[in-house]
Symmetry: C2
Subunit: 203 residues, 2 copies
Amino acid sequence: MKSTSTGPEAVMAIADLEQARLLADPLKLSILQAMGGEAKTTMQVAEAMGEKPTRLYRHVEALEAAGLVRLVRTRPKRGTVEKYYQAVARRFEVHPDLFAPEDNTLDTMLAGILTRATTEIGEAMRNFRQSPHPDGPQPLFLHLRAEVSAADLDDLHRRLMDWADDLESRQATASHESTANWSGFLAFYPSPTGQKSNRENTS
Amino acid sequence: MKSTSTGPEAVMAIADLEQARLLADPLKLSILQAMGGEAKTTMQVAEAMGEKPTRLYRHVEALEAAGLVRLVRTRPKRGTVEKYYQAVARRFEVHPDLFAPEDNTLDTMLAGILTRATTEIGEAMRNFRQSPHPDGPQPLFLHLRAEVSAADLDDLHRRLMDWADDLESRQATASHESTANWSGFLAFYPSPTGQKSNRENTS
């Protein structure tokens, strides 16, 4: 067995337009997420996703060529070689400035993330209704809006990022206890129209 | 002017099936959210939502009859009386146990929240692309999954609830500075199928 021991970085800032375009493809993004924890073969990812492996190979190759996943281990198996890939980071940050104003890649990417999250939440809730967890925390869905100061905004933004870092770092150390798999979808964004709350002068 | 000074509670746990059913109606939920900050008239809510006020009156009446909004102030205006309503809480918690297993009210409610959040996020991002905020925090969209211990799960769950409480409590005190309106959508739920990460024995 050939192996390298470096795990994924917590966050990778995407500075390359080609890399960003790959992330805008929902299937590549799913593969990348699946390879964000333990190293996996394309076959294992395909099984978890309910896809045919033959459909995924070229996407994994594209992700590897772009430097978004890396080959961390090979293992001989029945005359062939199993290739274990791992994402280079557990989270990717894409800055809007990367794109030209008329480029809609970012919208495509966001639409893909939203569709995937919505589908997953619906599925999770059907499962939960069929077998609730009476002792643990209940699933949480919150949609909120508030008028906040610049300092509070920075603080609230940072705390959500910290929460995400924490979720991911605890994942790595959860191997010796009873564990559960939970998903999080966090969105925090400037409110669209109608958002300027009409503070009344009632004094 | 008649006025009562009690503001909304932070959270109200819904224990009444009729109240829960009202929350499952997307339009009533939108009205309730609009009345979650300052007290507003039905007319003001209609304007902010781009709806006709005549379409909203009966929904506001139903919310008041169910005890989800209350009349906090009246003001004579041109021969009529303006009625200012406020939600009794800024957040409502609905426990899945409230519903019979075959009752799909909760699914309807969740679907409504998701649709509304998705629409709002799309709109917010189009606005943001047209006029980015180079100095402030960037919009944040994260979809994560992790295998966590029961203790970590409780902690992560509590921190998201605290974050929501904090967002709402800061709203109340943000009146004297430059402020911005931001929306948050937080979902944290048991991962659906494929979630059991295949920890490999590579030792």
